[in-house]
């Protein structure tokens, strides 16, 4: 393993470039970049879907999209943004940053890491391949039974969704095991749990959520699959099943999923704020415990998605109160972030802009969340645009702002050059204003009676101009992300003139102690950690900025060999599941054979 590096003779140097090196890579940094690039492309696809949705809704009774096309687009927008954009963007950061932040040479199971990525990308491609058959999923990202039954959704649309999610679930579970073990086992000497960077803490809590929540959706999807393929009746009332069972299972997964999406961004913001305030995170312990408390409570609030099903006053009261309780640790986090800024020396660099935008917008999403934590109010608001407004403040104003801030913050570390500050700040203001133009009027649209998931609305409900403003806002968001891509392009072209030093931001954590981008082995010597902000301590001891770390010859450092067996195994697993909708048993068996062969060769592969 990583820490025992020097005892080993070196492995043969793997080829460093070319397609083959990427297909067989087990380097956590390369896998992180693969996750990031794939997720960003899926994010653009999901964003395009959103733009089409907004273009349809810009005027009442519009015929730009058919009802069928609209239903496919809103389903795929939700599914894509949750499973193919925000989650894998987090996975990019887990991959790239966790080993660097805890002072490790790789993750605990490098080949399992590659397997996770390949399963993820195959699942994402499979799900989107549905568009080629004009059969994209069309029952909503929440896929409520019994609309998803064969009787009411006879096409392949829902099959693509069930099997696609099942494949993606495998990727998430494998990755969660990996990162959890990595954080527990591979921390550098001296990095006690309560010295870990906050991003690592939030990541670890997220892995626990993934490990506990994904089995539930897996079971729910297996039931749905057998209902559709083999005539079981788990969700079919005529066969003694109950569509409510789906809702319980889906939301026992689905609510923790919300925290799976938002805890890593909490971690990102908790890294950015101290560095650009030049002051440690305020209330570190409270931040750790509030994160853990949010995750714990996250498993006890699922029925707040189901107040309108009529669970009765006792259940409504209990789930309402547990939901409101979550506002307390969330409030603690927000106050601690402001406390971090307070008394600091704010360096107004691009990452800080996004982190501040995150706080400002997340507060709005949190407060509207408290509004529909109250079941009577929720009876009006659920399934309306009010809820759409709420979770876009949380997921766009929250998660996406934090992700973009994180991109500006860690880009120099990952690619060795800086992104343009000026362009980044212009993008921020366009994004901030456009975000509010797009999503703030949705509160009013919902309260004034606009239901969600409707491909059109009638004139005369007073909703016309609200929707027009939202559509104009969404175009602004498109401009903001175009600018982001322009920034990447321009910065890449000028990378020679603008190389990133190891520590461009006066960072506090270990990833800034090594060259940008890091060498394959990360740390020539595993560091020893004596406190929470190890790099700041080192700089103080040194009496100023540290000398630029040298790139060293690491040929004597043992690293795992590249391997294509994770890719083979991932292909086998995907074929096995796809067989349920295309080709039947023979295809299932071919998939199983490839899966077993791949796993067998993987298990007995010499690790060098």
């Amino acid at each position: 393993m990583a820490t025992s590096a020097r005892e080993h003779a070196h492995a043969p140097a793997p080829s460093k470039t070319g397609l083959w090196s990427w297909l067989t890579t087990v380097d956590h940094k390369r896998i992180g970049i693969l996750y990031g690039a794939s997720a960003f492309i899926f994010f653009l696809i999901g964003g395009l879907e959103a733009l089409l949705i907004r273009w349809q809704l810009r005027i009442p009774e519009n015929n730009f999209l058919s009802a069928e096309a609209y239903n496919q687009l809103f389903t795929m927008h939700g599914t894509t943004m949750v499973f193919l954009a925000v989650m894998p963007l987090s996975a990019m950061l887990f991959n790239y940053l966790i080993p660097l932040m805890i002072g490790a040479r790789d993750v605990a199971f490098p080949r399992l890491n590659a397997f996770s990525y390949w399963v993820f990308i195959l699942g994402g491609l499979f799900m989107n391949a549905s568009f080629l058959f004009n059969a994209a999923p069309d029952a909503g990202w929440f896929g409520y039974a019994n609309l998803t039954s064969k009787q009411y959704s006879p096409g392949m649309n829902v099959d693509f969704w069930v099997i696609g999610l099942q494949i993606l679930g495998v990727a998430s579970l494998a990755a969660a095991v990996n990162f959890f073990v990595t954080i527990i086992n591979l921390r550098a000497p001296g990095m006690k749990l309560m010295r870990m960077p906050m991003f690592v803490w939030m990541s670890m809590i997220t892995q626990v959520l993934l490990l506990l929540a994904f089995p539930v959706i897996t079971v729910a999807l297996v039931f749905l699959l057998t209902d559709r393929m083999f005539g079981t009746g788990f969700y079919i009332p005529a066969q003694g099943g109950d569509p409510i069972l789906w809702q319980h299972l889906f939301w026992i997964f689905g609510h923790p999923e919300v925290y799976i999406l938002i805890l890593p961004p909490f971690g990102i913001v908790s890294e950015i704020l101290p560095v650009f305030s030049r002051k440690p995170l305020f209330g570190y312990a409270a931040m750790v415990f509030s994160g853990a408390f949010i995750a714990f409570l996250g498993f006890g609030v699922w029925s707040h998605h189901m107040f309108s099903t009529g669970l009765g006053p006792i259940a409504d009261s209990v789930f309402s109160l547990t939901t409101m309780l979550i506002a307390i640790p969330t409030g603690v986090k927000i106050f601690n972030w402001i406390g971090t800024l307070w008394g600091g020396s704010l360096q107004m660099k691009t990452p800080l802009y996004y982190a501040l935008g995150f706080i400002a917008l997340f507060v709005i999403g949190g407060l509207s969340g408290v509004m529909h934590a109250s079941p009577p109010a929720d009876l009006q608001q659920t399934d309306t645009y009010f809820v759409v407004a709420h979770f876009h403040y949380v997921l766009f104003g929250g998660a996406i702002f934090a992700m973009v801030g994180g991109a500006f913050y860690w880009w120099p570390k990952m690619f060795g050059y800086m992104l343009r500050e000026g362009l980044g700040k212009v993008q921020f203001w366009i994004m901030f204003i456009a975000m509010n133009l797009t999503f703030f009027p949705m509160h009013y649209a919902g309260l004034h009676g606009m239901p969600r998931r409707t491909y059109t609305y009638v004139a005369g409900l007073g909703l016309d101009w609200l929707n027009l403003v939202e559509t104009i806002g969404s175009l602004g968001l498109a401009v903001a992300f175009t600018l982001f891509m322009v920034n990447i392009f321009v910065s890449f072209r000028g990378r020679k003139a603008n190389p990133a030093p190891a520590d461009p931001w006066n960072g506090a954590t270990l990833e800034w102690s090594i060259p940008s981008p890091p060498q394959e082995f990360n740390f020539p010597e595993i560091p020893t950690v004596e406190g929470r902000d190890p790099l700041w301590t080192a700089k103080r001891k040194h009496g100023g900025p540290l000398p630029e770390p040298k790139r060293v010859d690491g040929s004597n450092i043992h690293l795992p060999n590249p391997s294509y067996w994770p890719l083979v195994t991932a292909i086998g697993m995907s074929i096995m599941l796809i067989g349920f909708m295309a080709g039947g048993l023979p295809v299932n068996l071919i998939g199983v054979a490839i899966l077993f062969f791949g796993a067998f060769r993987w298990a007995f592969e010499p690790t060098g």
Partner: protein, 356 residues
């Protein structure tokens, strides 16, 4: 300063939206409750909004102060390395808890108040179908669609279920919404206190035409309501099904030759396999278990809207609807056994327009 002007723009923008959002005409709004149930819901919501606004202003103000007050330069001395403050942290944990208590108490009270279903109310059975709402009045012997008539000032209890997939019945002005299931009834109740026509629509995604599943609450004076029920009872499936005392009125048979041809086309063309219709052999059908069941058409001409509320009930729209329902409302369960000729459509339209 750029930051200030940006934030100021945003603030002005939100204010404009906010002010405009409160005026205007919003017939489907949740913010103008016109019944007891909706008013209780509105009270809870407004109470929460007040607390939320206070918290919003305080937190965003603290954030803005921090941003402007603590701006530093790269060569400034390192600020005090504060790690936390137990006292402050305890205080800002307790304050939100107290505020939440002020929200939670009225919430729980209202949950229990709205859960008490009145026993002295008129009952209406609400049945969701892809993609229209059916309303049955067991004590009045009425079966109708899309437009739910209720007398003003009268408590009504809605016992609700679905004939196919989940839907959610939403009457924003009177009683919020509730999902409907096949195997059990869910309930809503309200007393409407204003006469008029009030739109609502299905709120749970229910397939292709979810957006076109409209409903209206028609609040009338007791006299108007009584006249309406008397007319709707004639030939009603509920009456004929023996649920209430049979109606003795015999509907007048059609006399106009076009209308007679239309009735023949209605029977021969297969319409009666999904639609109850007074004066035809299947007038008494409720079509339980038939997921293709369509609305009772015995009094279709008395309704203002067609096709789940998608159109006004005019001759031109009826003609359009009958000429190709799949084109007008793709995937609708209204499936013609074969395309109708122009002549058949004309006679059917003439016939249906006499069914008041």
């Amino acid at each position: 300063m750029r930051h200030r002007s940006g934030l100021l723009t945003l603030f002005l923008m939100l204010t404009v939206i906010g002010i405009a959002g409160c005026g205007g005409d919003y017939p489907q709004s949740t913010l103008t409750p016109l019944g007891d149930f909706a008013r209780m819901v509105d009270d809870v919501f407004r109470g929460t909004v007040r607390w939320a606004l206070v918290v919003f202003v305080l937190v965003e103000a603290a954030l803005l102060v921090a941003i402007f007050k603590f701006r530093g330069k790269p060569d400034d001395a390192e600020p005090d390395q504060v790690h936390g403050n137990a006292m402050v942290e305890v205080v800002w944990t307790i304050i939100p808890a107290v505020i939440l208590a002020f929200i939670a108490v009225p919430t729980v009270k209202t949950i229990f108040r709205t859960a008490e279903v009145p026993t002295d109310a008129m009952e209406i059975e609400v049945i969701g179908h892809q993609w229209w709402w059916e309303f049955r009045y067991p004590t009045e012997g009425v079966v109708t669609a899309t437009e739910m008539h209720v007398p003003v000032g009268q408590k009504v209890v809605l016992k609700m279920r679905t004939a196919d997939v989940l839907h959610s019945f939403w009457v924003p002005q009177f009683a919020a919404k509730r999902d409907v299931f096949q195997a059990r009834y869910t309930t809503l109740w309200f007393t409407a206190d204003t006469v008029g026509w009030f739109p609502g629509q299905c709120a749970e995604f229910c397939g292709t035409q979810h957006a076109r599943m409209h409903s209206w609450v028609v609040v009338e004076s007791p006299e108007e309501f009584a006249a309406w029920t008397a007319a709707q009872r004639v030939g009603s499936p509920l009456v004929n099904g023996g649920v209430v005392a049979p109606d003795t009125t015999v509907p007048a048979p059609p006399v106009d030759s076009v209308v007679i041809k239309g009735q023949d086309a209605f029977v021969a063309g297969g319409c009666i396999s999904c639609h109850a219709m007074v004066g035809t052999p299947l007038a008494g059908q409720l079509f339980e278990g038939n997921t293709n069941a369509g609305p009772n058409l015995s009094h279709v001409a008395s309704r203002a809207r067609l096709a789940g509320g998608m159109f006004e009930n005019t001759e031109a729209n009826l003609r359009r609807w009958l000429s190709d329902p799949q084109l007008v409302k793709p995937n609708t369960n209204m499936k013609l056994p074969r395309p109708l000729t122009d002549d058949e459509i004309a006679t059917l339209v003439a016939y249906l327009q006499t069914r008041r």
